[in-house]
Symmetry: C2
Subunit: 217 residues, 2 copies
């Protein structure tokens, strides 16, 4: 792990807890109105309920330093966070499985503000192939390798039914894509050199239902 963020700012393998907190800081800072120019870690800590030394440590990965007694310039910090987190860059992605969740993600234009640019969809359903959803064309699975090359796709989003998840993950990995965003409740396995990020919304629902039903104990 490289500890010199000023040199390889976007390529350090950060601790996951830090990576999860940085977007909170960004979200918080983006609610500040423009007449506030500077912010201290102490003020951020008070409002975010995170230890100030933790915030300072997290922000040290960005390679910027606050000024003593003044803190960080908000606009610089926001820009640096957006760049650092990859939100300011375009990452071309393909959605594999254009069912209700896949179609919903294509329709969610908000993802673009976070650097995710969905450029194509893949589905086995002949009635979907060749159609457009919010300007995104749907293709047959056979087209995946050519699409990846032609459109410069770097992320594959897996929104197929559970029983197809592993097979689809294999096809995505073989097409040259090296990052999979898995929305299925399947533990998909990938070759070395490919990363998987799981967003298990159904697991989150299960946790929420359990916490809710336990409130009255």
């Amino acid at each position: 792990m490289n500890e010199k963020p000023s040199i390889q700012r976007n390529s350090i393998l950060l601790p996951e807890p830090t990576l999860r907190r940085l977007p909170w800081y960004l979200a918080y800072l983006s609610t500040k109105n423009s007449d506030e120019q500077y912010i201290s870690t102490t003020k951020m800590a008070g409002e975010l309920h995170v230890d100030p030394s933790q915030i300072a440590k997290d922000l040290s990965f960005l390679g910027i330093r606050g000024k003593t007694r003044i803190g960080y310039e908000i606009s610089t910090l926001v820009d640096t966070l957006r760049n650092f987190l990859g939100f300011a860059k375009r990452h071309n992605a393909v959605i594999v499985g254009v069912g209700s969740l896949g179609a919903a993600l294509i329709a969610d234009s908000g993802l673009q503000h976070y650097g995710l640019n969905i450029v194509a969809g893949i589905d086995t359903n002949p009635s979907l192939i060749g159609s457009d959803i919010c300007g995104v064309r749907i293709f047959s699975p056979d087209n995946l390798p050519q699409l990846v090359e032609k459109l410069g796709i770097v992320i594959g989003i897996v929104t197929v039914p559970v029983e197809s998840a592993q097979q689809v993950a294999n096809a995505i990995s073989q097409s040259g894509i090296r990052a999979l965003w898995n929305f299925t409740p399947t533990r998909i396995r990938v070759p070395e050199g490919v990363v998987v990020t799981n967003t298990s919304i159904y697991s989150h629902l299960a946790v929420m239902y359990n916490r809710l039903s336990s409130l009255d104990l």
Copy 2:
């Protein structure tokens, strides 16, 4: 914490790691075709890459036991898991913030299979109020308390912009809803007796971008 699952099967406060694994087991079992009647923890462990004793321990919370040398009856295990996880029950929910993500969640009919029944939307945009999205009516924020009572809403889904998240969370908590599903990158605070589940898809994107850019180091 109640350790007797046979008595209060749906009301035990389970460890979160167990709650996150149980949906994997369910997803895995649902891919089994109907000519397999029984499954052992050893077989599940081999395919899911989870320790067999961990699986047995997780399943012990369900209050069912496998048969020695035979294992668990798959159909019973699937039904028990679905009931236990709350997926077989209807939880009425309101979406607060019908922007691109909120509208996408309303359109995602798949959530119904996991027990989430979105019955109303809330937005401040006058052009949305009174309209329907996939049969779900959109109301003004003023209507929230009446809607909660009239429609038996138990879950509030927060999909507003960051700067409104805390204020919306307050309004939801005050309306009598005791479970919030937070999709914003805000750390929202709620009164005691209210639970929050965070699905930070933008944090997941940040983690994925970082892992992707670190692959070539």
